[in-house]
């Protein structure tokens, strides 16, 4: 899905210092089509990277290109074909969503009637059909995020930067927004660079994940690689830590290498043993109800547990 060779974003040695603050350090990233998650804790440099790619900020050193255009010389061409949903509020409260998105379409070079048509379309896609004639000052956070997204899409860009689109949303609105992000990449055919400070959030919607840590690239790889199966098994029994420990000790006694994790027990690969049967029988013997039995996967959080040393090997993947 991301391997058709088209390069959407590429940076080499990209560095940004704000005085003493090193926001980005010697960043080498490649981003292809589809949805790319840009993940990192607050202050990792995600917004700074996006602003540099848009030409809103100048890098201290290094180079970058967006859709084949050099950011140093072709900012205007880039901004013509790119959409941007900023992290912070950027909507005038006394203007209706419809008027605002139409105006923003015109500022991207669409004619009056095309701007109106596309605004209506895009507002419908983001789910602001009914409310679009109301002033945006009265919008909920979720509606504001949708209006911000609509103005980023209205000129049919080839790439959108979505900076923390789920920020401030309740769980239901967050799920909606993530689904929308997925649709933009998969159905609309627009490349997406989406950021989040919540490490696990973008797993389901991204084809590719780039992890930043304090301005450094920690890891960049296809999402599947993060989630690949570890070969371990995750089991959980009904009850609390007492039950968990009784269960774990019995499994160990039966010869299975295991350790507790949260409320579950992780059983490391034991190829010679009938692992599933042993788990079932051990639980039955102890009179414990089996609640969960599933293959263990890596999560984005693990990247941070593994630390930069092991991440280094992955960086080359691009």
């Amino acid at each position: 899905m991301t391997e058709d060779g088209e390069q959407v974003i590429a940076t080499t040695g990209l560095t940004k210092h704000y005085g003493q603050v090193h926001a980005l350090t010697d960043l080498d990233i490649e981003v292809g089509p589809g949805v790319t998650g840009l993940v990192g804790a607050n202050g990792a440099g995600k917004s700074t990277l996006i602003k540099i790619l848009l030409g809103l900020l100048e890098p201290t050193s290094g180079r970058a290109s967006v859709l084949g255009h050099d950011i140093a010389t072709a900012g205007e061409e880039i901004r013509r074909v790119v959409g941007y949903m900023p992290e912070h509020d950027c909507l005038p409260p006394d203007v209706s969503a419809s008027d605002f998105v139409v105006h923003m379409a015109r500022m991207s070079g669409l004619g009056a009637s095309a701007a109106r048509e596309r605004s209506a379309d895009v507002l419908r896609h983001v789910g602001l059909d009914e409310e679009r004639y109301r002033p945006m000052g009265g919008f909920s956070t979720g509606m504001k995020q949708r209006a911000k997204l609509a103005q980023a899409l209205v000129h049919d860009p080839r790439l959108v930067f979505l900076d923390e689109p789920t920020n401030g949303l309740d769980p239901a609105a967050r799920t909606d927004m993530l689904r929308l992000v997925r649709r933009i990449g998969a159905d609309f055919g627009i490349a997406v660079l989406v950021t989040s400070h919540l490490l696990g959030e973008l797993e389901q919607v991204s084809d590719h994940v780039v992890v930043l840590d304090a301005g450094h690239l920690l890891r960049s790889s296809a999402t599947g690689d993060f989630l690949e199966q570890t070969g371990s098994l995750l089991v959980e029994v009904v009850g609390g830590t007492t039950e968990r420990d009784r269960f774990g000790e019995a499994l160990a006694a039966a010869g299975l290498p295991c350790r507790p994790r949260g409320t579950a027990v992780v059983i490391d690969p034991a190829p010679q043993l009938p692992v599933h049967d042993l788990v079932r029988d051990t639980a039955a013997d102890l009179g414990l109800g089996l609640m969960r039995l599933q293959p263990d996967r890596h999560h984005l959080e693990d990247v941070f547990l593994q630390g930069p040393a092991s991440a280094q090997q992955e960086v080359a993947r691009g």
Binding site: K51, E76, D89, P92
Partner: protein, 291 residues
């Protein structure tokens, strides 16, 4: 990965393959929108009240003058073009103070400036276009009554070439003065984003300071220290306007008119203030956008 074609997807997303305007056309669209917004057009009904009230107040005397001239067949206008602006400068100042924030505070306060600058128009073009909208709004505001006077004068049978010369002088002065006033009020509005503060700041610059300058000039003349009064005239856009109008024989008299090198100084200061405030505006917008 969906192909980038014009295909209508199942979910109904349509691509846009139509024409896209170049920078010049986008700037023109922004300019027209800004000019309209300065008069509250395309904004809420409430936003139209103040600009049109001020415009009405500023034009009404011209209409009355025209009526009088026509009725009693005077052979000259009782008030000149340039001095009409001087007489109504309080209204012009209020209009500039109240409407500059519409063009220069709103985008910054609500941070929609970021959305503009993430679009094709380069930041300096955006700032200059905004400034041009405000300058044009001020020109419309000040020229409308002059046109009423001019048309009235011609209808009353006054000499066409005299009237045209006087009008053109006034227009030339206004081109300079509106540039300065737009730069000052625009910059104040872009720095103090609260509308109230911006209005107060502009009123200080356009009403209070010129008032003080006039007082200083009156005293200077009375005390025989004319040069002090002339120098004081450099301190406000309206005293620059009146001083130049007096020096240029445009039908305005001030207490201490500039002459000789002072005229050049007045011109230079006006051009400099316009240039510096406009450059500062550009820098200000770019700085806010990068945050």
């Amino acid at each position: 990965m969906a192909e980038r074609t014009g295909v209508i997807h199942d979910l109904g997303y349509r691509r846009y393959d139509g024409p896209r305007d170049g920078t010049a056309t986008i700037a023109r669209t922004l300019y027209v929108t800004g000019l309209r917004h300065a008069f509250g057009l395309g904004r809420s009904g409430k936003s139209k009240i103040l600009p049109f009230l001020l415009l009405g107040l500023c034009t009404l005397p011209a209409a009355i003058v025209v009526g009088v001239v026509t009725l009693i067949s005077l052979d000259e206008l009782p008030i000149g073009y340039a001095s009409y602006t001087t007489q109504t400068q309080l209204l012009v100042s209020l209009f500039a103070a109240a409407q500059a924030p519409v063009l220069f505070s709103r985008d910054l306060r609500h941070r929609s400036i970021v959305l503009y600058l993430a679009r094709p128009l380069p930041a300096p073009v955006f700032a200059l276009t905004r400034w041009l909208s405000l300058t044009s709004a001020l020109l419309v505001f000040t020229l409308l009554p002059q046109l009423v006077l001019y048309v009235g004068a011609l209808l009353a049978g006054l000499d066409v070439s005299d009237q045209t010369t006087a009008l053109l002088k006034a227009v030339a002065l206004l081109l300079l003065t509106t540039t300065v006033v737009a730069g000052i009020t625009g910059l104040i509005s872009s720095v103090s984003l609260r509308r109230g503060f911006a209005i107060v700041g502009s009123i200080v610059a356009l009403v209070v300071v010129p008032g003080v300058v006039t007082a200083v000039q009156a005293i200077a003349q009375a005390e025989g220290a004319d040069d002090v009064g002339v120098a004081a005239g450099l301190a406000s856009p309206w005293s620059l306007h009146s001083g130049l109008a007096d020096a240029w024989d445009a039908g305005v008299t001030v207490f201490t008119p500039p002459s000789g090198g002072w005229v050049v100084a007045y011109l230079a200061v006006a051009v400099l203030v316009a240039a510096v405030t406009t450059a500062a505006l550009v820098r200000r917008l770019m700085k806010v956008a990068s945050r």
